[in-house]
């Protein structure tokens, strides 16, 4: 596709369940970012992948959150034992390489934990 694709677009889950959110970056983009955006708030950095380097996980809020990336393609953000405070829009972005300021965002996955 031409842009960053995220799936699902919406996810409602019960408290305590695990969820997986998927991101397909723009082909050829080596850098990939995950952010969390609560309603009416800014973008909270979660994790950053750059090529084959070890990811920067400094923004993950707890050990319930993890993310993987297969080479320079798909990434999956996993939230285990979801809590109500995990409800937010999860945004993925990619950029051509680490040194580039411009990142392209997907539409996000709206997660609601009930």
């Amino acid at each position: 596709g031409a842009g960053v694709s995220q799936s699902p677009s919406n996810k409602v889950t019960e408290k305590g369940k695990d969820v997986e959110l998927r991101c397909d970056p723009i082909s050829g983009h080596t850098a990939l970012y995950w952010y969390r955006q609560r309603l009416g708030q800014g973008l909270e950095f979660l994790i950053y992948f750059q090529g084959n380097s070890a990811p920067d996980k400094s923004g993950l809020p707890s050990d319930r959150f993890s993310a993987e990336r297969t080479g320079e393609s798909v990434s999956t953000l996993t939230i285990q034992r979801t809590q109500q405070e995990d409800s937010a829009v999860y945004l993925c972005a990619s950029s051509l390489y680490e040194g580039l300021a411009e990142a392209f965002f997907g539409q996000g996955t709206r997660l609601t934990v009930v």
Binding site: G42, L43, F45, L91, A93, E102
Partner: protein, 110 residues
């Protein structure tokens, strides 16, 4: 940790007027500062960036000013249009990752 923040959460301007959105930052080591626009229900969209060794950069109807002395960044939008209504975020690049501020909601009155 160090972060990027905004002075005002909301800004309302008349169509055709110029808009100025401000941002304060604290990380002196940032090498890029970036402005993003987020329309309702969409992901943020890149507007313009500026390197830390510059103090001004112009794009189409937008100008970004960087004052490193007071650690202040601003986005100026000329002849604001209804389509400019959105939330605007400043961000800085810290070691490769992009760190965003809280955002300013710009509302354009017809």
């Amino acid at each position: 940790g160090e972060s990027v923040g905004l002075h005002l959460p909301t800004l309302s301007v008349q169509e055709g007027d110029n808009s100025i959105i401000n941002c304060a930052y604290s990380n002196s080591a940032s090498d890029y500062f970036i402005w993003y626009k987020q329309e309702s229900g969409k992901g943020p969209q890149f507007i313009i960036d500026i390197r830390s060794n510059m103090d001004k950069r112009q794009g189409q109807r937008v100008t970004v000013l960087l004052n490193k002395t007071v650690k202040h960044l601003s986005l100026q939008i000329a002849a604001t249009q209804p389509g400019d209504s959105a939330v605007y975020f400043c961000a800085d690049r810290q070691g490769g990752k992009l760190i965003f501020g809280q955002g300013t909601e710009l509302s354009v009155k017809p």
